[in-house]
């Protein structure tokens, strides 16, 4: 009985999917690198939001230490949200998106690579900058590792969910605020478990459960979000 | 009947404001959800009728 697909054919198909992933990732990273402001704006916003809280409420170390986990997380969430609009917009405007949709390449892989590239230029820098904010908001040192790990697990999920909103609104001229409205309710579980992880780290409680939940949400997002994003892209571009 | 007199009924054992406010809001929302489609239907009919008349006149 002949094999339907030979080993060589199957191997080269896997390779080409992987090649597609890397190619899209490299392209998006290179394009993002050229517009450095897209990288720095969310970071500056992140820093500013965290500055607003002491200014607007109280600079008392006790108060700030208590709200620090939540403030850093909310700031990271808002900064991610702010950067989501640019995910598909430039490709949409110059027609690349339409070409991508028409090509026989699996859209799931392309979308995943684009979101990963976007996260590497937004969520990852936020995660790396977070300890600085922690220090500014008097987050106890025990909380730092919890903060970074929770953001490391949580920000990719935020990027994936935000990409759904970006895909739904890419065809609209003013998509920006609408993305926030669509996506914020979906962000709430990630926010709740992310901040709880940091608070547990501060009080010395075990973190494994929180990371497991955040990881589970990331896994779910990894598998399901690209489906929704692809569907939304097809609808937005054809509409 | 749970109440001895009409004034007792309105007072609701001290919680009258809350009970009546809730039922009033409920009534408002029920009315809005019925009246709004009815008004829209009238508007749709008048708009379409106007367009039909315009088409007939121009043809």
């Amino acid at each position: 009985m002949e094999q339907i697909v030979t080993k060589e054919q199957s191997k080269s198909a896997d390779e080409s999917v992987l090649n597609l992933f890397w190619a899209v990732l490299k392209r998006d990273l290179m394009l993002a690198y050229r517009k450095k402001s897209d990288l720095f704006n969310p970071l500056i916003f992140f820093l500013m939001v965290a500055t607003l809280f002491p200014l607007g409420v109280s600079p008392e170390p006790d108060f700030l230490a208590e709200v620090a986990p939540g403030v850093v997380w909310v700031a990271a969430l808002l900064a991610t949200l702010l950067s989501m609009d640019s995910l598909f917009r430039s490709d949409f405007e110059d027609g690349t998106l339409e070409q991508t949709l028409l090509s026989p390449q699996p859209l799931f892989i392309v979308v995943l690579a684009k979101v990963l590239a976007h996260w590497m230029m937004s969520g990852l820098p936020l995660t790396l900058l977070a300890p600085l904010l922690g220090v500014m908001l008097f987050l106890p040192a025990e909380g730092m590792s919890g903060l970074m790990m929770s953001l490391l697990l949580g920000t990719p999920t935020l990027s994936l969910i935000g990409a759904i909103g970006a895909a739904l609104t890419v065809g609209l001229r003013k998509g920006g605020v609408l993305i926030s409205l669509l996506v914020l309710p979906l962000y709430i579980p990630v926010l709740i478990f992310g901040t709880s992880a940091v608070q547990a780290a501060v009080t010395g409680l075990p973190l494994a459960g929180f990371f497991a939940l955040l990881g589970a949400m990331l896994a779910l997002g990894f598998v399901m979000a690209p489906l929704a994003i692809s569907a939304a892209l097809r609808i937005s571009v054809s509409g | 009947m749970n109440f001895d007199s009409f004034s007792d009924f309105i007072a609701m054992g001290g919680h009258g404001f809350y009970v009546w406010l809730s039922y009033a809001i409920a009534l408002l929302i029920v009315v809005i959800n019925i009246v709004s489609p009815v008004l829209l239907k009238r508007k749709v009919f008048s708009d379409l009728a106007r367009r039909l008349r315009r088409e007939k006149k121009s043809s």
């Binding site: 065809g171 399901m224 509409g239 | 009947m1 009258g16 809350y18 409920a26 489609p37 379409l48």
Partner: protein, 252 residues
């Protein structure tokens, strides 16, 4: 020629015709309206006059007869919106799209009613106008999901595209609702003392759940009436160029 086995009942395919749907909804409207009116009037009188007051909360307990039905409706409406959206997405059925679009504003008002009555109930019960209780917070998030769907519909000009996008959004929201519920519940146990319970009660006495049942039925029928009216309007607007609509308008 043998007939291929139909996977779905005939009326499902008939619903695809906007004209047929318009007519059938027109026939169903008076019946549902009558049942709604009777149930709501009887239920309200029963709730206000004949149902017993709670021995702990007194007469403010009567708010439950509005709060619980509106909360149930807000959740059921979202399910219907997501299912109708999915049907429109999969089978490209225009009427399903229109039903989904019509669900959104009604569901949003139900959520608002549930939130308002929940907050009003909170004042005499716990002394404050708002509590970050798990159920109220989940209902607030549900309201945001509804408002997102409404906003998406109004932002996209093409009706067909708007319906498809809103369907995707509604389905993503549907998948998230259990996750949101779980996380808000969990967050609530962390931050609220365990004594705060809104509608968690031991088995209700029949004197209490019977008027509640009547109110729930009344609310469902009222929802059906409002939904059918809105959907019929959508059908008229979307099908305005077809001959049967022109004929209908001409008759007025």
């Amino acid at each position: 020629m043998s007939e291929k086995k139909k996977w779905l009942p005939r009326w499902f395919y008939q619903l695809a015709s906007p004209r047929w749907s318009y007519d059938i909804m027109g026939k169903l409207l008076p019946g549902f309206a009558l049942v709604a009116l009777i149930s709501l009037v009887v239920g309200t009188i029963w709730a206000l006059l004949y149902a017993p007051a709670d021995y702990q909360q007194g007469n403010s307990f009567r708010i439950i007869y509005i709060h619980v039905p509106s909360a149930i409706l807000a959740q059921s409406c979202y399910m219907l919106m997501a299912v109708a959206g999915a049907i429109g997405l999969i089978w490209k059925m225009k009427v399903a799209d229109m039903v989904a679009k019509s669900c959104a504003p009604i569901g949003a008002t139900m959520a608002i009613l549930a939130l308002a009555t929940g907050a009003i109930w909170g004042k005499p019960t716990w002394g404050s106008w708002w509590v970050w209780d798990a159920r109220l917070t989940s209902m607030l998030i549900l309201l945001f999901l509804y408002l997102g769907v409404v906003a998406l519909h109004s932002a996209i000009e093409s009706e067909a595209t708007a319906a498809q996008s809103a369907a995707v959004l509604a389905l993503v929201g549907l998948v998230n609702i259990p996750i949101i519920k779980y996380s808000v519940d969990w967050w609530n146990t962390l931050h609220q003392p365990a004594t705060f319970k809104l509608t968690e009660r031991p088995a209700m006495a029949p004197e209490m759940w019977m008027p509640l049942l009547v109110m729930v039925i009344g609310f469902y029928c009222f929802f059906a009436v409002s939904l059918m009216m809105r959907t019929r309007n959508e059908i008229l607007i979307r099908e305005r160029r077809s001959s049967w609509v022109k004929e209908l308008v001409g008759k007025q």
